[in-house]
Amino acid sequence: MKLVTVAGPPSCGKTSVILRLTETLSKVGSRLGVIKFDCLSSEDEHRYNRAGIPVKLGLAGGLCPDHFFVANIEEGVRWGQRQGFDLLVCESAGLCNRCSPHIRGVLAVCVVDNLSGVHTPAKIGPMLKTADVVVITKGDVVSQAEREVFAFRIKQVNPRAAVVPMNGLTGQGSLMLERHLRTAPETPDLEGVRLRFSMPAALCSYCLGETRIGPDCQIGNIKTMDFS
């Protein structure tokens, strides 16, 4: 079974991209499953169900969704193996720009959309910077120049990634993404495998549920700004 991590900011088109991809893949008889990691709730489960794709939904609740991802992905891969998938796709919303679900030796896809603006690529952390393939969506609604500038900025922050423009509505471009997936390595299990980038422990009292404001309530990893 191949594993691929698909990450990107909320509403950039991850689910659309995966759904269009499955249309291409089902034609060649590939069996595909999805694990969706999200925070509080997700409609995506129904979208995958409707398309007839086996899906597991994991809600991180108060945790960083990427931390939640690492804690569960190994078991997820076992689930995928038991189901006999050829390809297991992990969709996770990059809500925390500092964390990233990408794993060494596992094909890493980052989805970003043209509408997010030309300054966005520089703002996204390891999720984009360590990806192997960057899919750019929503090119159908912006000008040629904006598409070119956006792709250029992506290539600047991640010069080693392949850049794949794709329309999440029509699926235009999904064939190229499929060809990249074909080169993905097999992932029988995740034993001894490491993340591409460390996730900060970053535990402060607020991570642990503190709601009161003020220095007396702050413990742990605190960083202060200079307002002088």
């Binding site: 520089a122 952390g125 792709a151 794949v164 235009q172």
Partner: protein, 351 residues
């Protein structure tokens, strides 16, 4: 450059050799003030904590810089994608009947794509856009200079062969026309940005008819002005030798001039349209029926002559649009109004 020499350059020297490397540092959030340091010394001066905060790994800094430089070198205007010809090899129509066609296009060719709604005009443009290799619903294939496009180049993210303009594309950047064009020129690594910006701007104003300013926010441009700016920009700044245009009929730009501009830049233009005036601007038109190319019509001399006369009507209609815009009544004798379009003999049909 070998492994060691890059690391041993001072930042100053690195920036002299590769001015764009400045972006490398600023985009990663590592602006470098101490430019007398060598690259290696600068990298070692960064604390683990800082790198960690920025989502960077120390051992990746140097390979990243190397990849950045080679990426930028590839993107420099010298390595523009060029082509002698594009061949469209037929596939099948919606019922699976073979489309027996082999169409060779050359720089400067303008081809209109016509056919009823839903017949497959946009599909044809999409096939060209993705340089289809029998892998789209139509089964068409595209050859560049006689061969299938280089798969590795294509997979690696070289998508600069094709530029697109369509009715539902808008500007979403919140910047002025000047900033917008500068950003695009920078991304094309143009040497003299001000010259490029000025040239595209004046071309766009010419096409738009209604003037706008360099300081106008792009999102405040009218539909016609936006389209004019997009066309001028694609013609002058985009590297792509192939331009696809999907229905820009109502855009209110000088379409003839717009196409002339693209032709002058040696672009191959494919233009999907329902508008007779636009369709006749092509040297040929592909007639699409039920998903397949049913016919290829060369624009004849008499059609071209007719186009000249139809354009006069078009200008008359533009006058009417202006009247309506200016809040005037359309109160005139139609025969008189059209007198300079029609020879007297033809005027009978207006009665």
């Amino acid at each position: 450059m070998t492994e060691t020499t890059l690391l041993h350059l001072t930042i100053d020297n690195l920036l002299i050799r590769h001015p764009y490397a400045n972006d490398f540092f600023s985009l990663l959030g590592l602006p470098c003030e101490a430019r007398h340091l060598t690259v290696e010394a600068f990298f070692s001066s960064l604390s683990d904590e800082r790198l960690n905060d920025l989502g960077l790994l120390r051992e990746q800094l140097e390979p990243r810089l190397r990849a950045f430089i080679s990426q930028m070198e590839d993107l420099r205007s010298e390595s523009l994608p060029t082509l002698q010809n594009v061949t469209l090899c037929g596939g099948r129509d919606k019922d699976g009947r073979p489309e027996d066609i082999r169409l060779e296009l050359h720089p400067g060719d303008v081809v209109s794509v016509v056919g009823p709604t839903g017949s497959g005009k946009s599909r044809l443009l999409a096939d060209v856009e993705c340089l289809a290799q029998g892998d789209t619903p139509s089964g068409r294939r595209l050859l560049i200079d006689g061969n299938a496009p280089d798969e590795n180049l294509w997979l690696g993210g070289e998508q600069r062969l094709v530029a697109q303009l369509s009715q539902n594309m808008n500007f979403v950047m919140d910047v002025s026309v000047r900033e917008f064009l500068s950003l695009h020129a920078e991304s094309r690594l143009v040497e003299d940005i001000d010259v490029a910006v000025g040239q595209i701007f004046s071309t766009a104003v010419l096409l738009a008819g209604e003037p706008f300013k360099l300081e106008t926010p792009v999102t405040a441009l009218s539909g016609g002005q936006s389209r004019a700016l997009m066309i001028a920009d694609v013609a002058c700044l985009s590297a792509s030798p192939i331009v696809l245009i999907d229905e820009i009929e109502n855009a209110g730009v000088d379409r003839r001039q717009a196409l002339d501009l693209l032709v002058k830049q040696e672009k191959i233009v494919l233009l999907a349209t329902h508008d007779p005036l636009l369709a006749l601007l092509g040297q040929r038109r592909l007639v699409i029926r039920n998903g397949g190319i049913a016919d290829i019509i060369e624009t004849s001399d008499s059609e071209r002559a007719l186009l000249q006369r139809l354009n006069r009507f078009d200008r008359k209609f533009a006058e009417l649009r202006d009247c309506v815009r200016q809040g005037k009544r359309l109160d005139f004798d139609l025969g008189d109004f059209l007198a300079d379009c029609l020879p007297h003999a033809e005027q009978g049909f207006l009665d």
